[in-house]
Subunit: 226 residues, 2 copies
């Protein structure tokens, strides 16, 4: 997807959009420490982004900070939440009432941040009507009604990989245009539907990179001592 | 963390390391389609990275491609896997045998990519000794033995947020130096321990950004028609 247009300003590049949640999480932590203003250097340090890039990213939001003072933390949180569409709730519907689905429905990070879980859909007749973590399991035939009651809701795929595409197809048929796929398989959707892939093993691979270097350092230290 | 040194070449920047798993996943998909060589443009399109950055990133690995031909896909997969330390298995131990722990132990993306799950640790006496998805639940007192048998293993925190720091402390005491935290809370670890945070709501926020823009476009289309 290309950069997204906005009537008030120029387009916000996709890479900047991807960093907004990192900034927001960092700012919430900074605010919790009672810090009223933050420099681009300090925000960058917490978010893991260099200061020049922080300033550039925030300028796309129309935030320029005050020289020698920095950015107002609470105002930046408000602006960023509005930009991310987090000032009103947006429901999520989870396809797949297995362990991953349960874990996501329980995940404090969803409900706390304005993404209430409206329901599960599942194809297992044995699960229909049961309530898991306060969330009801529906038949896939209920999906159109669930979606109609929650305009703009997001579909989450938490099924086994083999049926992830089926879940996406059902979401799309029901009119959902934003889908998050947790299953480890590539899925397709028509134009106009935004699918994002979460890869739970991605961070493991990054850790592995650094761990391998630590192993090698330890080994060469041992060899140097021998 | 700063860039990581390597005896053969200059340091690889952290941002490049973060993109290696994306390239690897993209290359595996390209190889599955039977494509033998790939240009930086095509690899970049699949991975969502611009072509100049792809070339720069691959140059850190010592890969320069052939003008007019591109990069050999299988060789790049091999090189990248070696770079990420994925050519040998690295065990993971999961703290927390709840829904998220089960889901991770079942996640095909871990075992398929060389991260076998060696065991759960949990503080609930009722779960001790039980086997979930083929993985045994251990008491935390077994942790030092589990780690000793698996040098370089990675600890995964899949506990409730309130006890995530306890889990990290136990991993560190047992000698684990690479930790992946799935709990939605910030945890601390001493120097020399690499902790990475997975935020399951991050991609939801990015989807929300784009969904909000789609909502606004639909609204303005309706207004224009009225």
């Amino acid at each position: 997807m290309d950069a997204v247009g906005d009537a008030r300003r120029g387009p916000i590049p996709e890479a900047t959009v991807s960093r907004l949640p990192l900034y927001l999480r960092s700012l919430v932590g900074i605010a919790a420490d009672g810090v009223p203003t933050v420099s681009s250097e300090d925000l960058g340090r917490v978010a893991g982004v260099n200061a020049a890039k922080v300033r550039k990213d925030l300028s796309y939001l129309g935030s320029y900070g005050t020289r020698g003072v920095g950015y107002d933390v609470e105002f930046l949180i408000f602006e960023m939440s509005r930009e991310l569409g987090l000032t009103s709730e947006r429901a999520v519907i989870i396809a797949g009432a297995g362990n991953l689905g349960h874990a996501l429905a329980n995940y404090r990070g969803f409900t706390d941040r304005g993404f209430p879980v409206a329901g599960f859909i599942d194809t297992d007749p044995g699960k229909m009507g049961s309530v898991i973590s306060g969330v009801r399991v529906h038949n896939t035939s209920d999906l159109p009604d669930l979606v109609a009651d929650r305009p703009g809701c997001i579909g989450i795929v938490a099924t086994p990989a083999a049926v992830a595409q089926d879940a996406v197809d059902r979401f799309v048929e029901a009119g959902i245009t934003s889908i998050l796929n947790f299953a480890p398989s590539v899925v397709n959707a028509p134009d106009g539907v935004n699918v994002r892939q979460v890869d739970l093993a991605l961070e493991l691979q990054i850790l592995s990179f650094y761990a391998q270097r630590t192993d090698a350092d330890l080994l060469s230290d041992l060899e140097a001592q021998a």
